[in-house]
Every structure is written in structure tokens, then in C-alpha cells.
């Protein structure tokens, strides 16, 4: 660890925010999904930073599970995107608004 953990944390916050922007602004469902992955990764970074700087493995254990969850979510998410694409022939999430109000 060559710098203070705070730098890692700050980086993680920045990446998390970029991920948030991706979710808020991108219209492609898959890119949105990727942005979520980015957010999760940013959090993982925080967790690992804390875990390593405090010498407590449970943080990294959560990262382990988090990666597993991310994988599961990716699988389900992509399957949903495929299903959507089948019926609508688009993955533009601004065009997916059957339900409102």
C-alpha cells in the first residue's frame, strides 16, 4: 500500500459516481447494466481497501460474494435484455415505457 487508503476510497467514490451517471444517462440497456457493474466494482474497491487496511478478511469475503452476485445478476440481466429484444427489437430503455403513471 503505497498511498493512504483515503485515495482508494476517493477513487472508488468517483468510479461509483461515473457508474451512476452511466445508469442515469445511457439509453442502451446493456450499457446501463455495465454501469451497474462498474458501481459494484467501485464498492468492491472500497471494501477491499477497508479490509486490507484493517486486516479483517470479512470485507473481502463480501467482495467474493459480491462478485458472485454480480455474475448472477449479469446472467439474469442479459437474459432479460434478450427477452426484451425479442419482443421489442430494441434495447433502448427510453422506449420501454408500457407502464406509467
Amino acid at each position: 500500500m503505497d498511498v493512504a487508503p483515503n485515495w482508494y476510497l476517493a477513487l472508488s467514490a468517483v468510479l461509483f459516481t461515473i457508474g451512476t451517471f452511466g445508469v442515469l444517462f445511457r439509453r442502451n440497456a446493456i450499457v446501463v447494466l455495465m454501469s451497474v457493474e462498474l458501481m459494484l466494482n467501485a464498492v468492491n474497491l472500497t471494501l477491499v481497501t477497508f479490509s486490507q487496511s484493517m486486516g479483517d478478511p470479512s470485507g473481502q469475503l463480501l467482495v467474493f460474494f459480491s462478485i458472485a452476485v454480480a455474475a448472477a445478476e449479469a446472467a439474469v440481466g442479459l437474459a432479460i435484455v434478450i427477452a426484451i429484444f425479442r419482443s421489442k427489437v430494441t434495447v433502448d430503455i427510453t422506449e420501454i415505457n408500457l407502464f406509467k403513471h
Partner: protein
């Protein structure tokens, strides 16, 4: 080392955010994930670093690319013209960022004693993680298995064509 990886990670993340083509987005994200894996290694978290590359960069992102190819997606507008909601979203995002930074970084006095590098490497090793994973979190591991199974079954259920 940190600053190099951090800069590249942020740049890659921004690249993902801005790229019009989903494929390039995905590739930018892969770059980002690699950087993060590198950062893990700088933190002496070797096991997670490896997992990161194997599972994330290797498996998940390939899945993404595969789906993008499968669906043959045309490029959608990236960051489309600014709308009110976008401005609002931007402001909110920045607000969130500033709050997060305020919480996590700006108070440079986190009352933790960073452990030494060896201790950190010890903690981040596969052995130490494996030990608690199979003892303390053994049940959780089973549930994680169920989760993955459910995801698999679910993905099939969702994506399969109906066979009559």
C-alpha cells in the same frame, strides 16, 4: 503505481460512459476492471485480484460482449442532447459524489491503523479467505450456490424460446 492505475481506471470508466458503441463501452469497462484488479494487487489482496480478472474480466464481460454481438445492436446515441432531467441528474450525481467524497475522503483522519504489508498480504490470501469461507460462511456459500443456480435456471427460463 496507484495514481497511474487510478487515472487509467477513471479514464476507462469515462470512456465507457461516453462511448457510443456498446462494444467499445464494454471494452473500456474491461480496461477499467483490469485496473481495479491491479489496484487490488497494490492493496496486497491477491486472491480477490485474481478472482476479479477471472470472473469479471474473463467471464462476465465476455458474456456481455457475447450478448451484444448476438443481438447485433446498432449504436444508440451515447450521451444524447442535454435534457432537463439530464441536467438534474448531473447535479444530483455531483451532489452524491460530493457527499461520498465528504464522507470517505475529505476527512483525512480515519481512525484506523493500517496493518503492515505482510499482515495485509496474509489477510488477502486465498488461504485466509478460504478458511472463513468454509467455516464461518459455509452456509452462505451454499446459499450463494443456490443463487447461482437460480440465476442459471432463471436465465434459461427467460432467454429460451418457447418450445411447443
Amino acid at each position: 503505481m496507484f495514481f497511474l492505475l487510478a487515472t487509467v481506471a477513471v479514464a476507462a470508466a469515462l470512456g465507457m460512459l461516453i462511448a457510443r458503441n456498446p462494444v467499445s463501452s464494454a471494452l473500456w469497462l474491461v480496461l477499467n476492471l483490469f485496473c481495479i484488479a491491479g489496484l487490488y494487487l497494490t492493496l496486497n489482496a491477491s486472491f480477490i485480484g485474481v478472482i476479479q480478472i477471472l470472473v469479471y474480466a474473463g467471464a462476465i464481460m465476455v458474456l456481455f460482449l457475447f450478448v451484444i454481438m448476438l443481438l447485433n445492436l446498432s449504436a444508440l446515441p451515447g450521451l444524447e442532447e442535454i435534457e432537463w432531467s439530464s441536467v438534474g441528474g448531473f447535479a444530483v450525481g455531483l451532489a452524491l459524489l460530493s457527499q461520498l467524497l465528504y464522507v470517505v475522503a475529505l476527512q483525512f483522519e480515519l481512525g484506523m491503523d493500517p496493518v503492515g504489508a505482510e499482515a495485509a498480504a496474509e489477510v488477502g490470501s486465498a488461504a485466509s479467505l478460504g478458511e472463513i469461507l468454509f467455516t464461518r460462511y459455509a452456509l452462505h456459500l451454499q446459499v450463494a450456490g443456490i443463487l447461482l443456480l437460480a440465476a442459471t435456471v432463471g436465465a434459461v427460463l427467460l432467454a429460451q424460446r418457447r418450445f411447443q
